[in-house]
């Protein structure tokens, strides 16, 4: 396979990390777009940074799977019809000092991510100035990502981002949903979808969760920001900041932990903020007893196996600060999706929770179910020669 090696990356000094990092090797091509200096005519393929395309629409037309599409500084594009992206692995990258804008202000003129592993990074979506019945961004493909984007909701918008029912494994990182006066819910997580969120600001607007699996950390609810979830969603949401006028509305049974999961600094999910969860939380420390329920820090389980035998899917295992354990057999994290093993605390800049794994072939920690997580733990193997 031919790859492109870019010793100086794509040569930008500001913008998304993929715009500024170097070196880069990629299997696709890099295509450039700028609404002011670009030209979509004459068979332009956008491969020359000095002769960019004018629109993202044209770039998607000529792009191949796994290409990078760089929206250059100050790019400002208004979509006049829906843009459906069916390609795989496309990276849409905002570059330069002036953040690129994608506007969607005619009926249902949003961007639909229908392919596999599409990633939009460092691009903003302003409020619509005419009625828009659809989402600014609709995600239906699996494992799509959005990073460092601001989606502004105006009175003419219906909603900003919908994670559709078919979307599996969506990841949102450092997104801002900014609601202007009269705005409706801006983030809709639809029934049956799964999503992981790391850094999200809901500013005077609402995240709606319907019958889906959601893991979110670093959520800020400011200026009336709101989370609303139905009775059958599953997951955990860690709110790191919550203004007095913000709201959380969970229709089903929810457990609330007010100091993270009660652990010292190490993993933010275990140590900080307010955690709202439908999941059962088990505590683990070698000074505990497997006869305990493990439901509280005062009565932890003693071994990981002791916890595993009690859990099914969608559970959280908190290995408490300083827990050490030697695993003597294969250990699958739970019997279903969404089991999280998180260690509490750090020592010398490293996770203080240690699992020693006997390294014959079958003796491992196995993440064998979807959306499993392993966080803030040290894994060691004993110095021995195996068969």
């Amino acid at each position: 396979m031919t790859t492109n090696a870019l010793p100086n990356g794509i040569g930008e000094t500001q913008g998304d990390t993929l715009a500024t990092c170097k070196p880069v090797i990629l299997s696709g091509s890099v295509r450039y777009v700028h609404s002011g200096t670009g030209d979509d005519s004459g068979g332009n393929d956008g491969l020359d940074k000095e002769a960019p395309l004018a629109t993202l629409v044209a770039a998607i037309d000529v792009a191949q799977d796994y290409d990078w599409i760089v929206l250059l500084s100050g790019h400002d594009e208004t979509l006049t019809e829906p843009l459906e992206i069916l390609l795989e692995g496309i990276q849409i990258i905002g570059a330069g000092a002036v953040r690129p804008l994608i506007r969607t202000h005619t009926p249902s003129s949003g961007v639909s991510l229908l392919g596999y592993f599409i990633h939009i990074r460092g691009v903003d979506f302003p409020a619509a100035t005419a009625p828009n019945a659809g989402a600014k961004v609709f995600i239906s493909g699996d494992h799509c990502r959005m990073t460092d984007c601001t989606l502004t909701m105006g009175a003419e918008d219906s909603f900003a981002l919908e994670n559709g029912a078919d979307a599996d494994g969506t990841v949102l990182t450092d997104l801002v949903f900014d609601g202007e006066e009269g705005a409706l819910a801006s983030l809709r997580i639809s029934s049956g979808s799964t999503i992981r969120i790391d850094g999200l600001t809901m500013d005077d607007t609402t995240m709606d969760i319907v019958a889906s699996y959601v893991f979110a950390e670093g959520v800020r609810l400011v200026s009336g920001g709101k989370i609303a979830a139905d009775a059958i969603w599953t997951g955990a949401i860690q709110v790191s900041e919550q203004s007095a006028d913000s709201q959380v509305e969970f229709q089903g049974s929810i457990k609330t932990y007010t100091s993270g999961l009660g652990q010292p600094p190490g993993d933010p999910f275990a140590a900080e903020g307010i955690v709202y969860t439908t999941m059962t939380v088990f505590y683990l420390h070698h000074t505990g007893d497997d006869a305990n329920t493990g439901f509280s820090e005062n009565r932890p389980k003693a071994t990981l196996d002791g916890v595993i035998t009690d859990i099914g899917e969608a559970s959280i295992i908190v290995a408490m600060d300083g827990h050490t354990e030697t695993l003597t057999g294969a250990t699958a994290l739970g019997a279903g999706y969404g089991v999280i093993l998180v260690g509490g605390g750090q020592s010398g800049g490293q996770p203080s929770v240690e699992f020693t794994v006997n390294t014959t072939w079958d003796e491992v920690i196995s993440l064998a179910h979807g959306n499993s997580q392993l966080r803030n733990v040290t894994l060691l193997n004993p110095e021995q020669v195996n068969e």
Binding site: C21, L26, S366, L380
Partner: protein, 133 residues
């Protein structure tokens, strides 16, 4: 092996894989049925002699028809004083690696006979670390 991922959508964050003599197989193994995001995680070979080199840090095998990918962000692979016995091999359908740190001569191979697509940004490399794709 220390950890094996056989499902889609696993997430490993803030962990340290400290491999010493006797590690057979990779510290993190992702067979063709697995897909994982690894963030802010370190893999280090921690041995006292060349003869005790652990096998390898990460091994991913592929089947292009399956939903097999790996995403590495802020991952460090460190050969330590005596190195890993083998290069890490990332051979999935899709690889996205950014802010990758390769220390003390670590080698990472992509697509050793598969159809791997994607990108890698080896932000920091020391000791003659190599990437082959």
């Amino acid at each position: 092996m220390m950890v094996q991922v056989t499902a889609v959508g696993a997430y490993i964050r803030g962990c340290r894989f400290q491999a010493s003599e006797g590690l057979i197989g990779a510290a993190l193994t992702v067979p063709e049925t697995g897909a994982v995001t690894v963030k802010d995680t370190t893999f280090v070979a921690d041995t006292v002699s060349v003869t005790g080199q652990p096998d390898e840090a990460i091994e991913m095998t592929t089947d292009a028809n399956l939903d097999s990918w790996v995403e590495l962000t802020g991952v460090t692979i460190d050969a330590g004083a005596y190195g890993w016995a083998n290069e890490s091999s990332l051979d999935g359908r899709f690889v996205a690696a950014e802010s990758l740190t390769l220390l003390r001569g670590v080698d990472v191979y992509f697509e050793q006979g598969g159809v791997t697509q994607g990108f890698v940004n080896p932000q920091t490399s020391t000791g003659g670390s190599r990437i082959q794709w």
